[in-house]
């Protein structure tokens, strides 16, 4: 028996449950109750409200990614410069919350923003949920470990002799950071951005629990289409929306790959 046969059960599984299901997005976008039609897809595409929601989601995902990068980079940098044992322990501390059910953690933020903080600040019957700032904050909260992790991995593998060389050649620590550390950490930045941006566009739990109905994002629109529209869900609308989403994901992946490649070929960012 050849060893490659061992892959056949998996290949069958993959075709049935990974490849074929992807085709269903296309199928249901143009097939409504067994009839081939483009009317539903076209109606979905020409709905300006949905494009506004997509724009808001992309904007918020972008902001989330930016805040995660700005807050997360210093953490990864500090950790990578520490004594290895301490850094190892602290990095575990930073990644533990990632393993805790994120719906439960988001629910906790809902309680904090709805009752605890308003009480603390003396707001009467007020709530801090349903604002853009609160949705952004919880998105950042959920995704920041995914930014810190690749950054920390890249920065801690950095060749320290390069820093010494820069310093020997007369660069102060700021210049060393900007011209040596930062360019060398671009692969970490790129994978951090992809690990935050794509999940952030599709997030629907956070806006549902924190947005108070006011921050309805693209993920919620898809959830609504599949779970509630016309009782059993409207697959045609949902599939069309998902196709647009996949296109966005594809474009951002291509952009990030391009940036990464430029860097690897030795192109300079600065």
């Amino acid at each position: 028996m050849k060893r490659k046969y061992f892959a056949y059960p998996y290949i069958l599984w993959m075709v049935l449950f990974i490849a074929v299901p992807m085709l269903f997005i296309l199928y249901y976008a143009v097939n409504v109750n067994g009839e081939w039609t483009l009317t539903k897809a076209w109606a979905t595409l020409s709905d300006a409200g949905r494009w506004r929601i997509l724009w808001l989601s992309v904007k918020m995902a972008f902001e989330t990614t930016l805040i995660c990068l700005v807050l997360g980079y210093p953490i990864a940098y500090i950790l990578s410069n520490m004594n290895k044992t301490v850094a190892g322990f602290l990095s575990v501390l930073f990644f533990v919350p990632m393993w805790m059910n994120f719906v439960l953690r988001t629910y906790a933020w809902q309680a904090i923003l709805e009752y605890f903080l308003p009480n603390l600040l003396g707001m009467k019957n007020g709530t801090l949920t349903g604002t853009e700032a609160s949705v952004l904050m919880v998105l950042v909260y959920n995704f920041i470990p995914f930014m810190i992790m690749p950054l920390y991995n890249t920065l801690s593998k950095l060749d320290k002799s390069l820093l010494e060389a820069a310093r020997d050649l007369g660069a102060n620590s700021l210049i060393t950071f900007v011209r040596v550390v930062l360019p060398l950490s671009v692969p970490g930045i790129v994978s951090g951005i992809t690990m935050v941006f794509i999940p952030a566009i599709t997030a629907f739990t956070v806006p549902a629990l924190i947005g108070n109905g006011k921050y309805h994002l693209y993920g919620n629109e898809i959830e609504l289409a599949f779970k509630t529209l016309s009782g059993q869900g409207d697959f045609a609308v949902g599939s069309t929306l998902s196709l647009i989403l996949l296109l966005c994901v594809l474009i951002s992946t291509l952009i990030m790959n391009h940036v990464d490649k430029d860097q690897q070929q030795g192109g300079q960012m600065w």
Binding site: R3, Y10, F89, W99, Y107, A108
Partner: protein, 291 residues
């Protein structure tokens, strides 16, 4: 002076970020000891008003829906991670011995579920099962139930993680091992079982742990796949959106075992790494002394 200030600023920043990350978890743990009675009814909706100490939340934690959801979560995680590990390990061995072209094709498709947003994976499974169930109804056969649907979905998104943890181990392990075992009289199956599998076991076990955590952690895919009964995270989501709220004691019973497990595993790893480093240093010193 300035250097010292910068250094303490660093620690303050790390401390604040750690506080930010743990605040909601600690909040739930503190309030898990709160008394939530309003008259005779218990409502978790007002999760911010301290009314007094009580252990009631722990007593009622797993009665009713939450308990069923937890049981299903553990069941799905156990079965799906074992099945995914078996299929994934066999697949990795098979893919490894393929020619370059087909190997890259299979590996690229395997990455699909890993790069696909959860939302897309979830809805594709939802549509697949809707299609299959419609077909089964037309043939007047029994429909696919939630348990089966959840299992298939969880196994599918876990297998790639197993493959990609076993693959690097296979690359490190020598192909000669398999040949040598056969030369010594093993059948191909025996060679795999006695020589290859023990050699790649660390990769298999880390793949298993990955599959287990992916399954335990999943919300989005399970949410779209299941209709009536589902896993714990789906229960939490619907309870959080409903009027009854979520029992905060859930946070404690998830968090404490998790932290213990992660700390033990990582501290052991750190200690090993340090021992290894010290040994390396000793070897280097010896080398120097010898010269």
């Amino acid at each position: 002076m300035v250097k010292k200030a910068v250094r303490s600023l660093k620690y303050v920043y790390l401390g604040l970020m750690i506080l930010f990350l743990y605040l909601p978890i600690l909040y739930l743990i503190v309030f898990s000891f709160n008394d939530f009675h309003t008259g005779r009814r218990v409502s978790y909706a007002n999760l911010g008003l301290w009314k007094g100490f009580s252990l009631q939340n722990y007593a009622t934690l797993f009665s009713g829906e939450a308990g069923q959801a937890l049981l299903l979560t553990l069941e799905i995680a156990a079965i799906s991670s074992v099945v995914a590990t078996i299929i994934g390990t066999a697949a990795a061995i098979g893919i490894y011995s393929m020619k370059k072209g087909p190997r890259n094709l299979v590996l690229n498709i395997s990455q699909l579920p890993m790069v696909n947003p959860d939302l897309v994976t979830g809805i594709t499974f939802m549509m697949l099962f809707a299609f299959v169930n419609a077909l089964l109804t037309r043939l007047s056969l029994k429909q696919v139930g939630d348990m089966t649907k959840l299992l298939i979905a969880h196994i599918s998104f876990s297998i790639p993680y197993v493959i990609f943890s076993v693959m690097p181990r296979l690359r490190q392990s020598s192909d000669l091992l398999y040949e040598a075992a056969m030369d010594l009289g093993c059948s191909p199956m025996q060679a795999l079982w006695k020589a290859v599998i023990p050699d790649i076991l660390p990769g298999i076990s880390s793949g298993f742990v990955m599959a287990l955590t992916m399954s335990l952690d999943d919300f989005v895919v399970s949410y779209f796949v299941s209709d009536l009964k589902s896993v714990l995270s789906v229960y939490i989501y619907s309870a959080a959106r409903g009027a009854r709220g979520v029992n905060p004691a859930l946070a404690t019973v998830i968090f404490i075992p998790l932290v213990t497990l992660l700390l033990v595993v990582n501290l052991r790893r750190l200690r090993k790494e340090r021992e290894y480093e010290i040994q390396n240093k000793k070897v280097k010193l010896k080398d120097k002394g010898g010269k």
